[in-house]
Symmetry: C2
Subunit: 446 residues, 2 copies
């Protein structure tokens, strides 16, 4: 086959620009467009009060903290007998792929969460987002392997699945909670279709987006279903230590048969810019020749092809913060947790004041009442879509997130997510006032 032939065949391929259709299909995922839309609305209406961003409140940050955290970690290395050369290597060189602060994180998990695992079963990641990528990639070997997600669910997990071409099956979280029966039915349906569900992704505590928390019987039921059907549970935990009160036990601390891969994030408990999270993967993996190793080792292999290792500077800052709190995120976050609890209570009280029981029943409006976390769900008697959001921002000066964004297989058309973490009390009061007016107007218009 000669050159001439090909030149005739493909002159048009030399034409610029690139066609979007020629790029990976995950880039045409409507979720990406909706996020862009939300950003545009926020940009177009800068005076609107936004209940959209799931960011930590930054009033607790102080620029000098960075330096304090780093010094604290350097002191720790010195106290452990590190030489100048060791310290330079730790701070500047390529580091171990699985992370250099695993002992410190393992210690924190023991103290805070009653999760007692060896450091070797932990992989430090670039935020929990990278941990999701590693786990989903490791667990899916072929086209029949699928991921189950509690739905509505965090867009990061469905994004990872799309990026990797892994089919996602939604298991709906009902208003009265996640149900064991729904999960088992989903597993059976998947298998009947010749597919192999590998894991279920859940946020048991103060879930993003719904704000719901799984009760203890549900946690035990999930573990039992996972054990019975041979799937893993991917437990994400970003809001546990920034919520008031004592949380229920994690799935991982209840896990007696290594069915749970636990994901953690320091984005809310230390700071988001560090981009440090982790996976606890103490599952045994056995190969054809009977050699065994930890799933964490496999995750680290994948990580070596994604980010090589997590920023040593970021790891040092997070370790410094943990060491400053004697490993207890619960202690380190006592003040923020109280703050977020107040913000949530203020929001719920303000909603109740503006849309009292009788009024909201008449309208067909209701909301859940999380005791912590960053989010709550408001059900409304109209389609909470992009058009409604634009009207809300433009005419009423209040922004929220359409719940539909979080349903990978459709749903949530009449619900919206409010985030309470980033606003001041004054903005919450004014924002709920505006929201109530919008809901009244929109309900009577539809």
């Amino acid at each position: 086959m000669g050159l001439d032939l090909v030149l005739e065949e493909s002159p048009e391929t030399a034409v610029h620009p690139l066609r979007k259709d020629d790029l990976h299909p995950s880039l045409s995922d409507p979720v990406l467009d909706t996020m862009t839309f939300l950003n545009e609305v926020t940009h177009r209406f800068p005076d609107a009060i936004s209940f959209a961003p799931g960011r930590p409140y930054d009033g607790f940050f102080d620029t000098e903290q960075i330096f304090t955290y780093l010094r604290r970690y350097l002191d720790h290395l010195a106290a452990q007998g590190a030489t100048e050369q060791d310290v330079r290597t730790a701070m500047y060189q390529y580091g171990p792929t699985a992370g250099q602060i695993r002992e410190i994180v393992a210690d924190s998990l023991r103290k805070d969460e009653d999760i007692d695992v060896p450091a070797e079963s932990i992989v430090i990641t670039v935020g929990a987002q990278e941990a999701m990528l590693l786990v989903v990639r490791a667990l899916t070997a072929g086209p029949e392997d699928t991921l189950l997600v509690a739905s509505p669910c965090y867009v990061g997990i469905t994004g990872v699945a799309r990026l990797l071409g892994v089919p996602v099956t939604a298991v709906e979280e009902r208003e009265d909670g996640f149900s064991r029966a729904d999960l088992e039915a989903a597993i059976l349906r998947e298998r009947a279709r010749g597919r192999r569900p590998r894991a279920l992704y859940v946020i048991p505590d103060h879930s993003n987006p719904s704000g719901t928390t799984m009760d203890l019987p549900t946690r035990h039921a999930l573990l039992e279903v996972a054990e019975r059907h041979g799937i893993l549970l991917i437990e994400d935990s970003p809001y546990r230590r920034v919520s008031p009160g004592t949380p229920l036990p994690t799935l991982k601390s209840l896990d007696r048969s290594r069915r749970v891969v636990h994901l953690g994030s320091f984005a809310k408990t230390v700071f988001p810019g560090a981009r440090v999270g982790f996976a606890v993967a103490d599952q045994q993996v056995v190969d054809d020749e009977g050699r065994t190793g930890l799933l964490a080792v496999e995750l680290a292999k994948i990580k070596s092809m994604v980010t090589v290792n997590t920023s040593s500077l970021s790891q040092a800052a997070v370790a410094g913060a943990l060491l400053a709190g004697d490993g207890r995120l619960s202690v380190l976050n006592a003040e923020p947790a109280a703050y977020y609890g107040d913000a949530m209570r203020t929001t719920l009280r303000a909603l109740d004041a503006r849309l009292p029981e009788a009024r909201r029943t008449a309208l067909g409006v209701r909301w859940n009442e999380p005791t912590g976390g960053f989010f709550l769900t408001v059900h409304v008697p109209f389609r909470a879509d992009n058009a409604a959001l634009t009207r809300s921002a433009q005419e009423f000066g209040v922004i929220w997130t359409p719940m539909t964004y979080f349903y990978p297989q459709g749903g949530g058309h009449q619900a919206l997510r409010l985030s309470t973490s980033y606003l001041t009390t004054a903005d919450i009061e004014e924002g709920t006032e505006r929201l109530a007016r919008f809901i009244e107007a929109q309900a009577s218009a539809s």
Copy 2:
């Protein structure tokens, strides 16, 4: 379909542990095992001199530099009029997915590399490794889309392709360099098989692993082939600014038709632990409705599903270093570049002293003579495999990397890679002495 039925069907699925065969096939890539093997050899023979690690020499690092760099960036923000609140947001909050130091990197590219692109066409990544993942993912839409790589090639790019299930086709780099004819032939073969090669990955300057540098006519030829056949060139550039002398122009600076995605890394020029790299992707992307945007925007969308954003702390440290050098990596790295140049020359001179021309010709040994970078290739008259490596480490106290590791489709059986970047002069002298003795012994044994 009832529960009972399924319980009968799948009791064995509940059995632990996980089977390796049930994990993603990239985890069974032999390259991962060879890397493990290399690490084990290094661990088993701690007194061996190792020419294996491609790490920067860390004699130039100083712990206090971190603090100086961070302060320098904070001063820069203040000088630009940032308020205390702006600084806290920049350092602690979630940042822009595409990065917060793009202007500073764009400035550096203009000054050092004559690459003049708007900051919007840059995406700051967690090392060049993440940039490879984003680019390969973006460019591959379906199973027919393939990646071409100059072979031997960096394992990070083939790792990314395996992780994403993208077929890789090797285009062999011959001893006299990379050839336009080989590239065109590979493109034609791919198309004849119904596949669509999307891009070619190359390291034009002091390549890892071979150490070769493309001459200027080859650079122009690659651009012409890319233009003619409608593929992109992914240009990686980690060693340009840590090599002595003035490098040849980058492909990107010669690119008149936006055929080049340029990747950069600050691992060698600032420090590896920061994990900061970038992609320059100024290609236009057009969708079905005729809307256009930059490829960089699409890469950032993918990044939002991989790491959300690059550590703000790491970005601040790198920006501080760049600002301290007035944006010129060439100036900032004058001393390291001279050091690495010396190390390479010392290695070549020492090899020549131990295996002079006549002797190496008789043995069938030869090597290339890079003028910079971290690596060179030694061709030997025996199989440079794991068994040979073990003998070399055990009996001669010297470690190197088998070149076969870097051939995605086989090859390089009688070649080894030496890295000269991490060793002291004394170790280079002693190490080459040991290596010469090993080569003599192995050559006479085979």
